[in-house]
């Protein structure tokens, strides 16, 4: 196991990273998937809280939401230490799977996060890691077409590079998976994982962010 010592090459207090996580909380997530999502998301926030130590400012800003028939924000442009673990509970009772609405929220939250970063004296967006968005869903999109929302999210201005959107299907039917490829910022950032791997994947999101690794390396493991 490697121990992280942060440098300018990764997220720092002058080059923080905005991390956005959107998790499907529709009825089909009931049972083990919702439980894994709850435990793993809490662990991920703990990892981000630990990763934020030692710095006068913040290295990460978090946007977290669950979605079903509507999108329920759990954290917006939040420093990890103010995210309440008690709020990170997924119960699979949010109704349908309105993906477009969730993507619209992600776009707004990401811009809010970047605006917070710009308030930092000597903030360098060019030197900051790409914003990372990870979108999880296990089922068929029951809402409108995701195209416009997905494009808007991927187009959020970022002078340091581009927004990385990873779309994660959780045991998704193959016939429903093309929507994830539409959401991801590149086709190779769409992945369909076995439901039993959900907790591990979320943990790897945290490790990827901490180490400043590329999201492709994360996806390639699965």
């Amino acid at each position: 196991m490697a121990f992280q010592k942060l440098t300018t090459k990764k997220a720092t207090s002058l080059t923080p990273q905005v991390v956005t996580l959107i998790v499907d909380d529709s009825g089909s997530m009931e049972g083990s998937k919702a439980e894994q999502a709850t435990n793993a998301m809490q662990d991920l926030v703990i990892a981000m809280q630990a990763g934020n130590q030692g710095s006068g400012g913040f290295r990460f800003l978090l946007n977290i939401a669950k979605f079903g028939s509507s999108t329920i924000p759990l954290a917006e442009a939040a420093k990890p230490e103010i995210v309440s673990l008690k709020d990170l509970v997924f119960t699979a009772d949010s109704g349908g799977t309105e993906m477009a609405d969730a993507l619209t929220w992600a776009s707004q939250a990401l811009q809010k996060g970047l605006a917070e970063c710009k308030k930092i004296a000597k903030y360098s967006q060019e030197g900051s890691p790409n914003p990372l968005v990870v979108f999880f869903s296990d089922g068929e999109n029951t809402g409108g077409d995701v195209g416009a929302s997905a494009d808007a999210l991927k187009s959020v201005p970022f002078t340091g590079g581009m927004v990385d959107v990873v779309a994660v299907g959780i045991g998704m039917n193959q016939k429903d998976f093309p929507v994830m490829e539409r959401i991801a910022s590149r086709a190779d950032l769409a992945v369909n994982i076995d439901p039993s791997q959900l907790a591990e994947f979320i943990a790897d999101v945290g490790a990827t962010v901490q180490r400043g690794e590329s999201p492709k390396a994360l996806v390639d493991k699965y």
């Binding site: 196991m1 490697a2 121990f3 992280q4 010592k5 942060l6 440098t7 300018t8 090459k9 990764k10 720092t12 207090s13 002058l14 662990d43 703990i46 990892a47 809280q49 630990a50 990763g51 934020n52 130590q53 030692g54 710095s55 006068g56 400012g57 230490e81 673990l85 000597k122 360098s124 030197g127 943990a203 790897d204 945290g206 490790a207 901490q210 180490r211």
Partner: protein, 532 residues
């Protein structure tokens, strides 16, 4: 059988008898509140009954709950008796005997039962002769037994004790006595239902817990021949560090100097506290170890690192066993992490169930000892490194090859493969640390540094500092006792100036620390000639 039963030499080994003394002592402490209750005959029957043939595992099963396995005597597991035993001196004695047995060379359940039978004989027998002889055995050995067991407990990290405490389930609550039951006990009253009793292992605060606020340990020390300057600093303000997690320490021990530099892993909870503890603990352990002339320097350094790691284990176990202890604030520092999250991080440090969460109290370490060679012409260096950090030897800052690395590191590499920390990762790190031995000519300077002074440039640390201060010998003078702190402050200001001119310049982007050692045997001669 019971009347002829007697322990003692030569049949019983000294270590066996010491364990008997230890267990009897435990019973004496609790006997007034809860009598031993079990007759020696029952315990001897346990040994000799072929239908029972207990193993150590059978004894442990009984300690964890109702011993339904069938290898306990009915006289003990009878529900009325079993209820009475809960929280009492018999089960306490058995628990201690099982726990301590391996350290006294006792390896079988029959031997443990024999010890308990002797205890029962001492506290319960009507035969004064056996009581007197057993008490004599006890008085002659109890001091030694306690010392031996205390040493074992100090060597074995309390973390194991804490882990065992977490894994053992409390004994089941016995059923309350029924009205009209014939079991009214000696007093004629109904026996009280004993409370559920967990197998509690005491976890004490380790010795030498530092008192706050932690004193800045920077400074200057010297003997006649070796001078050492050391300091740490929060680093340039552009780096936005909220605390200084580097620490340095040194001590003079006759002709030698012992030194240590620790750099807290910035994302590790409590790493500032840990760094301050580690540098002191390491140096004092090296000093203690060196006093034994038979130990090689390598062994002394490894032992010191290991002893320091054990201290961290004990500290973590103490904190976890006492979540409300005020010592948590010593460790927390300016961290905003909630206490329940901190506890999760601490627990994960022990059980490592979540590999992506780093350990708490983690630091790197570069430490060692320098001493004159036998003829006094050279300086012998022995050093240990866990994680990163470096040692450079300066012969001359004005010549091309005047700086040579003794322990190198790559300033661009940001991940470390090991750190000194509690738990299995720390134990692994001290099992196989990096150790070097070197010898340098008199007059040279050693520079020891954490990674902070390597960041943002590709020179040696010594050369970079030379460029900043602009003098060939870095301005090292015995008269300037604050040299180390001064040079770090200059380095931090220089880094801030660079950043303000050009924001891509991320020089020294971290906490900073330095130790400089100069060996000057001529100084000793000047002193002896009265020319200092």
């Amino acid at each position: 059988m019971a009347e002829t039963f007697q322990i003692g030499p030569p049949r019983d080994k000294e270590s066996f008898l010491e364990l008997f003394a230890l267990v009897l002592d435990e019973v004496y402490q609790y006997q007034e509140r809860s009598p031993f209750c079990i007759h020696q005959g029952t315990l001897l029957q346990w040994i000799h009954d072929p239908k029972l043939s207990p193993t150590i595992e059978d004894l442990k099963v009984g300690l964890r709950g109702s011993p339904a396995g069938g290898h306990w005597p009915q006289a003990i597991v009878d529900s009325r008796v079993w209820r009475r035993l809960q929280g009492g001196s018999f089960l306490r004695a058995l628990e201690l005997a099982v726990e301590a047995a391996p350290h006294f060379g006792v390896s079988s359940a029959p031997e443990i039962c024999r010890i308990l039978a002797a205890v029962a004989q001492t506290v319960g027998s009507s035969d004064q002769k056996f009581k007197a002889e057993n008490n004599k055995l006890y008085r002659e050995r109890i001091g030694r037994a306690k010392d031996a067991y205390k040493k074992v407990q100090q060597q074995r990290p309390a973390i194991e004790a804490y882990t065992r405490m977490q894994s053992l389930t409390p004994l089941s609550m016995p059923q309350p006595a029924q009205r009209g039951s014939r079991d009214k006990g000696v007093t004629g009253k109904m026996p009280q239902a004993a409370p559920a009793r967990g197998l509690l292992v005491r976890v004490n605060k380790p010795d030498k817990w530092p008192s706050l606020p932690l004193r800045d340990s920077s400074g200057f020390l010297s003997n006649n021949r070796i001078a050492v300057w050391h300091a740490s600093n929060i680093g340039p303000s552009y780096a936005q560090k909220d605390e200084n997690q580097d620490a340095t320490f040194a001590l003079v021990d006759g002709p030698r100097v012992i030194f240590a530099l620790a750099d807290g892993v910035s994302t590790s909870y409590g790493s500032r506290f840990s760094a301050e503890v580690i540098v002191r603990s390491f140096c004092f352990h090296v000093q203690r170890s060196i006093k034994s002339d038979t130990k090689s320097r390598s062994n002394s350094l490894k032992e010191a690192a290991s002893a320091t790691q054990i201290w961290l284990d004990n500290a973590l176990a103490f904190l976890l066993a006492n979540p409300l202890a005020p010592e948590w604030s010593d460790v927390r520092g300016p961290s905003n992490i909630a206490d329940d999250v901190a506890i999760r991080l601490c627990e994960n440090t022990i059980n490592l169930t979540k590999r992506w969460l780093g350990p708490v109290l983690a630091t790197t370490l570069v430490g060692g000892v320098v001493e004159p060679s036998a003829d006094g012409e050279r300086l012998e260096i022995s050093a240990i490194r866990i994680g990163d950090g470096l040692i450079e030897h300066i012969e001359s800052l004005d010549q091309p090859n005047g700086i040579s690395p003794i322990l190198q590191m790559d300033g661009q590499v940001t991940e470390i493969s090991a750190s000194l920390c509690p738990g299995p990762l720390g134990q692994k790190a001290v099992a196989n640390p990096e150790i070097i031995h070197e010898s340098i000519a008199a007059g040279g300077t050693l520079v020891i540094s954490s990674d902070g002074l390597t960041r943002g440039h590709s020179c040696s640390v010594s050369q970079k500092l030379r460029d900043i201060v602009g003098v060939p010998d870095l301005g090292l003078r015995r008269e300037d006792k604050t040299w180390a702190l001064t040079i770090l402050q200059k380095a931090a200001r220089h880094a801030d100036d660079s950043f303000n001119r050009e924001e891509d310049q991320r020089l020294f982007n971290d906490n900073l620390s330095i130790i400089a050692l100069v060996y000057d045997p001529a100084n000793a001669r000047r002193i002896s000639y009265g020319k200092d």
